[in-house]
């Protein structure tokens, strides 16, 4: 018996930017079956989008979805965005925290579907059950995403209970890895959602509100809540995020030789200690911030003291949020060992509204291509060299400003640029998406390439490899089976939607208990089965959008050259694994 006590969370808001209109439908059919988040977004995208639509045309559709646990349990802090990616031409899925998830649910919506394209720049203000279309002409072209946030903060309602999502100049100019920034420091970063917004002339979306979430069994609800809360704040399962945050990974990954450095020409970085979580925390960590409903507060913000350019004894302070992935992509991958330098580069990427990971990997490819003479100053204008963060800041601006044909190509992604200029063998992309920050072994790279969104978080191959150090490596078929099992379960987490950082807290049994208090009866086994179902639906959508199991499961040459903690990766092993994956996914999807 599945029946959510909270009816309002099944409401889907449809916004048509072309006609500047909106409507709301209750969809208990979707939310009671798929819980929310990824599960619901897959279905809504399939319903609403012509799968062959141009990702940067009016036919693309953006779905935001939250889930049954949003605003009900701690660490259920994420919103799932689903769309067609302009970077890969395939399924795009990106998750962000901040205030976004709770704000959407408190505004009375389980999902928001954005269609069409506006003729003029607009931003959407969504509250009190209504959508207000507001002129964003004056905000278009504003230099910094910070400024846009400040302006909307003053103008819009529901302070403290709202999310302010916006794009930067990168999104306006359709850079294919532009992201959407929310609450200044969190991002729907990956796969180019910012460019999709830019193509729709959607500058920002402010959503907020306040309401109750009725529960089916109040006594049980409070009991399960406390169980989860205690696990989150008292057990060791989230300590890593609680203390140094994700940058705690830098030193251990470097020690085992899994830290991609200088475009993965090495997996160890001599400057790792300088830009480690420890080093930044020691002298620059200035504030800790939390996503809504998450007592962990993993957002780490560093302060940079900056002297005025022309006046002595005048200072200002810049605040920059840092995490493992940007420190990898804009730090180790570019050979930067100056912590202030890497933070300033991160800030520039934030100001422009680009995806930190794709930008860093694109710059790393450009640097190697420059060193090899494939491209020259005629293309790059400046001279990129490892560690020179000032030049990289200039290059970030060029990616957005597009001064020549080279930067226009670089704005289309690393793979596109490499196809034009050469150097595909060291273009570090998987399914056209720039790689995450791990070179931990075979499962790591298999995870990237088979993952539905080519993220390390799809199936955690990077963690699988780290756990296997010093042990016998399993056969390729088993690696694939294990990664797929993990990816299937994670569909439940991203449908509820809970933060993956709390994955150890949310066991299938505890999820079942939590759902029961809200009115959904499903046991641990049923949840696992549902995970497989959502995974299958998502991959079917991916295949229907043109992902080719024969051609698109490509691995960049470089991963076979640089030794991993498991030694040099064997091509034969990887091919066997991919063949097994093809077979398994065909069985799973029936395609």
């Amino acid at each position: 018996m599945i029946m959510l006590a909270d009816k309002a969370c099944t409401r889907v808001l449809y916004v048509d930017l072309s006609r500047k209109t909106y409507w709301v439908k209750e969809r208990p059919d979707l939310f009671e079956r798929y819980l929310g988040g990824t599960g619901v977004a897959v279905k809504l995208l399939r319903e609403e989008m012509n799968l062959s639509a141009d990702p940067l045309g009016p036919g693309n559709v953006v779905v935001f979805a939250v889930g049954a646990f949003t605003a009900a349990y701690p660490t259920a802090s994420k919103t799932v965005a689903m769309f067609k990616s302009p970077l890969t031409g395939n399924l795009g899925e990106s998750h962000a925290g901040g205030r976004s998830a709770v704000a959407m649910k408190m505004a009375g919506f389980g999902a928001i579907v954005i269609k069409g394209e506006s003729d003029i720049p607009v931003y959407l203000s969504i509250h009190d059950g209504k959508v207000f279309f507001r002129d964003a002409s004056a905000l278009w072209g504003v230099r910094s995403t910070y400024t846009v946030g400040r302006v909307l903060r003053e103008r819009e309602s529901w302070p403290g209970l709202r999310a302010i999502m916006r794009i930067g100049r990168a999104g306006e100019r359709l850079i294919k890895y532009a992201g959407v920034v929310t609450e200044t420091y969190r991002h729907f970063g990956r796969l180019g959602l910012g460019a999709v917004w830019g193509s729709k002339k959607l500058k920002a979306l402010v959503v907020g509100g306040r309401r109750a979430i009725p529960v089916a069994d109040p006594r049980k609800y409070r009991k399960v809540y406390d169980k989860i809360y205690d696990k989150v704040v008292k057990s060791d399962s989230m300590k890593k995020y609680h203390d140094l945050g994700t940058p705690v990974n830098i030193i251990p990954l470097n020690k085992i030789g899994a830290l991609p450095t200088r475009n993965l020409t090495s997996a160890r970085f001599e400057g790792a200690e300088n830009i480690s979580g420890e080093a930044i925390a020691e002298t620059m960590l200035a504030r800790r911030v939390a996503c809504s409903h998450c007592p962990v507060a993993c957002i780490h913000i560093a302060a940079i003291r900056e002297e005025y350019p022309h006046e002595k004894y005048f200072y200002t302070t810049k605040y920059v949020s840092y995490d493992y992935e940007p420190l990898y992509s804009l730090g180790t991958m570019l050979g930067i060992s100056d912590k202030e330098g890497v933070l300033r580069l991160i800030e520039e990427v934030e100001v422009e509204g680009l995806d930190a990971m794709s930008t860093g990997v694109a710059l790393a490819w450009a640097t190697e291509a420059f060193q090899r003479g494939i491209i020259t100053e005629k293309e790059t204008i400046v001279k990129p060299s490892w560690g020179d963060w000032r030049t990289y800041i200039q290059m970030v601006k060029y990616i957005v400003e597009q001064p020549n044909e080279f930067y226009r190509k670089l704005g289309e992604g690393t793979e596109e640029a490499a196809k034009t200029y050469g150097g595909v063998e060291f273009a570090m992309t998987f399914g056209k998406n720039e790689m995450p920050g791990y070179h931990a072994g075979p499962a790591t790279h298999l995870g990237y390439v088979i993952g539905a969104r080519h993220s390390h978080l799809d199936n955690a191959g990077y963690s699988y490899d780290q756990k296997l150090i010093g042990k016998e490596y399993p056969p390729p078929e088993k690696v694939i089976d294990d990664l797929m099992k993990e990816e299937a379960w994670r569909q439940i987490l991203s449908s509820l939607v809970v933060c993956f950082f709390a994955r150890k807290v949310y066991t299938p049994e505890l999820v079942a208990e939590g759902l029961e208090a809200l009115g959904i009866k499903i046991d641990a086994e049923g949840l696992k089965k549902l995970g497989w179902e959502i995974y299958a639906e998502k991959y079917k959508l991916k295949l229907d959008m043109g992902f080719d199991l024969e051609k698109d499961l490509k691995l960049p040459r470089r991963i076979f050259e640089t030794p991993s903690p498991h030694g040099k990766i064997s091509e034969e092993f990887m091919q066997k694994a991919l063949d097994h994956f093809r077979k398994r996914i065909k069985e799973l999807t029936g395609k």
């Binding site: 701690p74 400040r150 903060r153 306040r210 109750a212 529960v215 109040p218 809360y229 504030r287």
Partner: protein, 148 residues
């Protein structure tokens, strides 16, 4: 004798009030708000009497807004129906059946500490129970004996 000692014990149970010890320590997780709302007992935030918001963006930190238990509360003074009455130890208690939802109390509080239940169109009044204190992981909140 027995009656007298019972009275003595009663007098020693002093009223308590919720205190924001140090808002600079707040990370903005909103756990206190959810805790307050859960007393009713729901998820969401409709009945949260405590409010957290940034002071001009995440980068500038947070402020925590809640009733400070004024000994002579202005919100009660302006209530036209007598729905709000001063509480022993400061602050007010709400009699919802008298409240017409005019919002005068909200205007009168200089801290903006009266939250609004948009579903019932009535104020949400902090009763200084301290339930939220249990859910603040960073020591921003405490429940202390009223000294005024």
């Amino acid at each position: 004798m027995i009656t007298l000692s019972a009275q003595t014990v009663k007098a020693e149970v002093k009223p308590k009030r919720l205190v924001v010890v140090n808002p600079d320590l707040c990370v903005g997780c909103m756990s206190c708000m959810f805790a307050c709302a859960r007393r009713f007992p729901n998820g969401g935030l409709a009945k949260a009497a405590i409010h957290v918001r940034s002071v001009g963006g995440f980068e500038r930190g947070f402020t925590v807004i809640v009733c400070r238990a004024c000994p002579n509360p202005p919100c009660a003074k302006v209530c036209p129906t007598g729905a709000l009455t001063p509480r022993k130890g400061g602050g007010v208690t709400l009699n919802p059946s008298k409240c017409i939802g005019c919002g005068m109390c909200r205007e009168a509080c200089p801290f903006g500490a009266i939250q609004w239940d948009t579903e019932l169109n009535k104020p949400v009044i902090c009763v200084h129970c301290g339930y939220c204190v249990n859910y603040c992981p960073h020591g921003v909140l405490t429940l202390e004996e009223v000294r005024w």
